[in-house]
């Protein structure tokens, strides 16, 4: 103790004490602070490892062992986690069989597995990350912004997806899928990554705010009641013409037969 007490007025004591105090506080903080940040590293690498395992079993036969692409499938370097999340959670990937376009089917992976795959593919090269819910949530948009979303949708999307997102045909058996009932997140990811035939609408082309407006418009138009009666599949004049012939002309011919089947009664 003499050693310490004799030197407590030493010029370096203040500085040393400060360093010691900082060290203690730092050590205590490190012990008490939320572990997420520090635990993330090993956890993520675990996720990546798991993702790589899943990838080599399910994806590598077409996309190559390191996602470099083969003659059967495109490279995944730089597609980003958002693309993986969209393709796998909508069931488009893994592909059941080669075709013009990957069909939507029930997904085969759990959310954890999809996250692992996405984490692995994201390590292959920089690409768009999975959007968080604040990006695609439509809360707080004004009526005018939603109406503008409609105009943006008609300008950018309706050429393939139809006026109200009912979907449409593309050449050689490809098609733009229906957007009715598609979760906000998937619509957002599709715009961000441009899956299959779809062009990429990056944030530079279509800012995140506009994407939200488009999503809000789709939700509103699909939720609105059918003003004027049965909507006939939202297909426009084709189904209207069929109904006009089948019901209109059909029923009226029935009535004509009924009317002319009865003669006038002679008195």
């Amino acid at each position: 103790m003499r050693l310490l007490s004799s030197r407590r007025r030493h010029p370096a004591a203040k500085a040393l004490l400060l360093v010691a105090a900082l060290f203690v506080i730092g050590a205590v903080y490190a012990a008490v602070a939320p572990t997420e940040q520090s635990a993330a590293e090993p956890n993520t690498s675990q996720q990546v490892t798991k993702g790589k395992e899943l990838f080599s079993v399910n994806c590598s036969s077409c996309h190559g062992l390191n996602g470099e692409g083969t003659s059967q499938g495109p490279t995944l370097v730089g597609v980003g986690a958002a693309a993986v999340d969209f393709q796998v959670s909508t069931g488009r990937m893994p592909l059941a069989q080669p075709g013009q376009q990957a069909p939507i089917k029930p997904g085969e992976f759990t959310n954890d597995e999809i996250a692992a795959l996405a984490a692995y593919v994201a390590t292959l090269g920089p690409g768009p990350a999975i959007p968080d819910s604040s990006q695609y949530s439509t809360d707080g948009l004004s009526a005018e912004e939603i109406a503008r979303g409609g105009e943006l949708f008609r300008t950018n999307c309706s050429a393939c997806h139809n006026f109200t997102g009912q979907g449409g045909a593309l050449p050689e058996g490809r098609r733009a899928p229906s957007l009715v009932g598609v979760p906000n997140k998937h619509v957002y990811e599709a715009m961000l990554t441009g899956p299959q035939q779809m062009p990429v609408f990056s944030d530079q082309v279509l800012p995140s705010q506009n994407k939200r407006e488009i999503i809000a418009y789709l939700n509103s138009i699909h939720a609105e009641p059918n003003h004027g009666g049965l909507e006939l599949g939202g297909l426009g004049p084709v189904s209207e013409g069929m109904v006009g012939w089948a019901i209109g002309i059909g029923v009226l011919i029935g009535f004509a037969i009924w009317i002319t089947a009865r003669g006038a009664r002679a008195r």
Binding site: L170, E172, V243, A264
Partner: protein, 588 residues
């Protein structure tokens, strides 16, 4: 000229009724009726005393297919009534305004006044959406019923002399109806119809030499300009409806003048009409049918959405949506455009767009044109200058029936082509595969349906021939003492035999004598030689009617049939285990 023949079933004139027997209502109207009669002769018309084409005692035959034209007439009346309501609110202007109506999803967007006022009719005018939907459904039914009506007349030969002019008027009405419908579909200036208008002006541009001038003349400049909607509106509510109304009037007057055709049957000849008088029977039936047609249209309009322009959005030349189709009656043109290969000439600085001109312009004119011209072609082949008031049964004109079915096949193929994207998405077929199939189909399918139809008609003729000679099967199987089986046939009634055999039999032209009476080679006139293969095509395969001698012989044969026990002309093989019995019958 057709002379109105005497009607066979005109009601006997009612004897003058003494005043005392008039009911209170008749008594009340006696004065005004006399007043009107003195000035217009309306009483004579009503009672049929005046030989006038407006004779209200005119007889009309009863058949459901004679009501098809009335559907067209009544839906046109519905169109006029609802159209007047819509003009009260519609603003035919392309002036740009900001929408502030009650449809939330379009608020604040710039749009034309035409589109905004259509939104107002749909959402802010009381009953406006219902009236709009009635108007639109009535338009679809108007043209559908005109087409159905014309098919009935075509297949029964109702267009033959003296009704060719009325047939041509009908074809003109079809053409005008399609134009009128398309204009009405276009004036709300929504995104769907705007795409259609864009295509039409593309088609106008494709007309060789004058196309660009026509477009500039109609639009007052480049597409879309700012006078397109007002001009289409004028055509839609004024010019074309007026012409349609006038032609409908002439059409109806000519029906009264020619008198209605009738289906063949006992007691029906070229000189009479068997049916009920127009007044009171048909005034009641037709009047009632008007309310039925109106009611069905209103019911459809109330229950089924049509042309929801608010989901299409305002027209913007930069936007084209997938699944853009015109109303069904323009669908065949849409299909023709989609199926047409990309044929274009580039001569010097000019472009000749056959890829658009042939399907869109020629196609538009071809449908009413082909319909209008057919009676004259058939008349040239048949060389028949007689008046026809008794209709053909379609089987007795197999070639005409087959041509009609082939024409319908072409039309349907084009319609399917117009909806190829909807078919591709809903049946998971490649768009290109559909187009390729239909490109072949439009040439091959009509030939196939032509042959099938003609064979069916001739088969039916053969069945009729058998029926006249052998009667109908009684369904009773007799076993003779010798063990033979036979089925006696019941002779058909006189009336049915008449219906089956009344038609005129046209004969194919034969080359005739090769030399004339002076021994000079005779080849026939050029017309005769040109007609010859066509008459063979039209009439060469017909099954001849049984002759009187054949009928007589068959009747005799039938009479002795049941007495003759072991006669096994109609032996029936009864299947697996009775072969020996039948054999025994034969050996008898």
């Amino acid at each position: 000229m057709a002379k109105p023949a005497k009607t066979a079933t005109e009601a006997p004139q009612a004897a003058e009724q003494p005043d005392q027997q008039l009911g209170p209502v008749m008594k009340f109207f006696k004065g005004p009726a006399k007043w009107a009669d003195d000035r217009t002769g309306v009483g004579g018309i009503m009672s049929g005393r005046i030989p006038n084409i407006f004779n209200l005692r005119k007889v009309f035959p009863d058949h459901w297919s004679f009501m098809l034209g009335e559907i067209a007439l009544y839906s046109f009346v519905v169109l006029l009534l609802t159209g007047v309501f819509l003009t009260l609110w519609f603003k035919p202007s392309m002036g740009e305004i900001e929408y502030n109506g009650s449809y939330q999803l379009l608020r604040g967007l710039p749009m034309s006044e035409a589109y905004a006022s259509t939104l107002n009719i749909s959402f802010d005018v009381r009953g406006g959406l219902l009236i709009r939907q009635i108007h639109h459904w009535a338009a679809l039914l108007f043209i559908a019923s005109m087409l159905t009506h014309s098919m009935r007349i075509f297949f029964t030969g109702g267009f033959r002399k003296p009704r060719e002019i009325n047939w041509v008027i009908g074809a003109t009405l079809l053409f005008l109806g399609m134009t009128e419908g398309f204009l009405g579909y276009s004036i709300p200036d929504d995104l769907l119809s705007g795409v259609g208008v864009r295509i039409i002006f593309g088609a106008v541009l494709s007309i060789p030499l004058v196309g660009t001038y026509l477009e500039t003349w109609f639009l007052g400049g480049e597409y879309p300009g700012d006078i397109l909607v007002p001009r289409m509106y004028m055509l839609h509510i004024l010019l074309i409806p007026a012409v349609i109304l006038a032609l409908v009037a002439v059409h109806l007057v000519l029906i009264f003048y020619h008198k209605h055709t009738q289906f063949p049957g006992q007691g029906r000849t070229e000189k009479n009409v068997v049916g009920y008088p127009f007044f009171p029977v048909y005034t009641a039936k037709a009047g009632g049918f008007f309310f039925i047609v109106f009611g069905v249209i209103v019911l459809m309009a109330a229950l089924i959405q049509i042309n929801p322009i608010w989901v299409y959005g305002p027209y913007n030349p930069a936007e084209v949506s997938a699944g853009s189709q015109p109303d069904w009656y323009i669908g065949y043109l849409e299909g023709a455009l989609r199926l047409m290969p990309n044929w274009e000439w580039h001569i010097g600085p000019t472009t000749w767009s056959w890829n658009i001109f042939i399907p869109a312009i020629l196609g538009f004119v071809a449908l009413p044109g082909a319909i209008g011209v057919y009676p004259f072609l058939e008349k040239w082949v048949s060389g028949d200058d007689l008046e026809h008031h008794v209709l053909d049964r379609p089987r007795n004109a197999p070639n005409r029936t087959a041509i009609g079915v082939a024409g319908i096949t072409v039309y349907v193929v084009l319609m399917i082509g117009g909806a190829n994207d909807i078919i591709a998405t809903h049946f998971h077929i490649s768009l290109n595969a559909i187009t390729l199939t239909l490109r072949w189909g439009i040439f091959i399918l009509p030939i196939i349906t032509f042959m099938i139809t003609k064979r069916i008609c001739i088969g039916l003729q053969r069945a009729a021939y058998d029926r006249v000679l052998h009667g109908s099967e009684s369904g009773v199987i007799h076993r003779s003492p010798a063990g033979g089986y036979s089925e006696p046939h019941t002779p058909i009634t006189q009336g049915e035999a008449y219906t089956i055999t009344q038609h005129h039999e046209y004969q194919p032209l034969t080359s005739g004598p090769q030399t004339d009476e002076n021994g000079v080679a005779r080849r026939g006139t050029a017309k005769e030689r040109a007609r010859r293969p066509f008459t063979r095509w039209y009439y060469g395969h017909n099954v001849p009617k049984p002759t009187a001698a054949e009928v007589e012989e068959a009747r005799h044969h039938q009479g002795g049939h049941e007495v003759e026990g072991g006669h096994d002309d109609h032996a029936i093989e009864s299947g697996e285990h009775s072969d020996e019995q039948v054999g025994a019958g034969h050996s008898d």
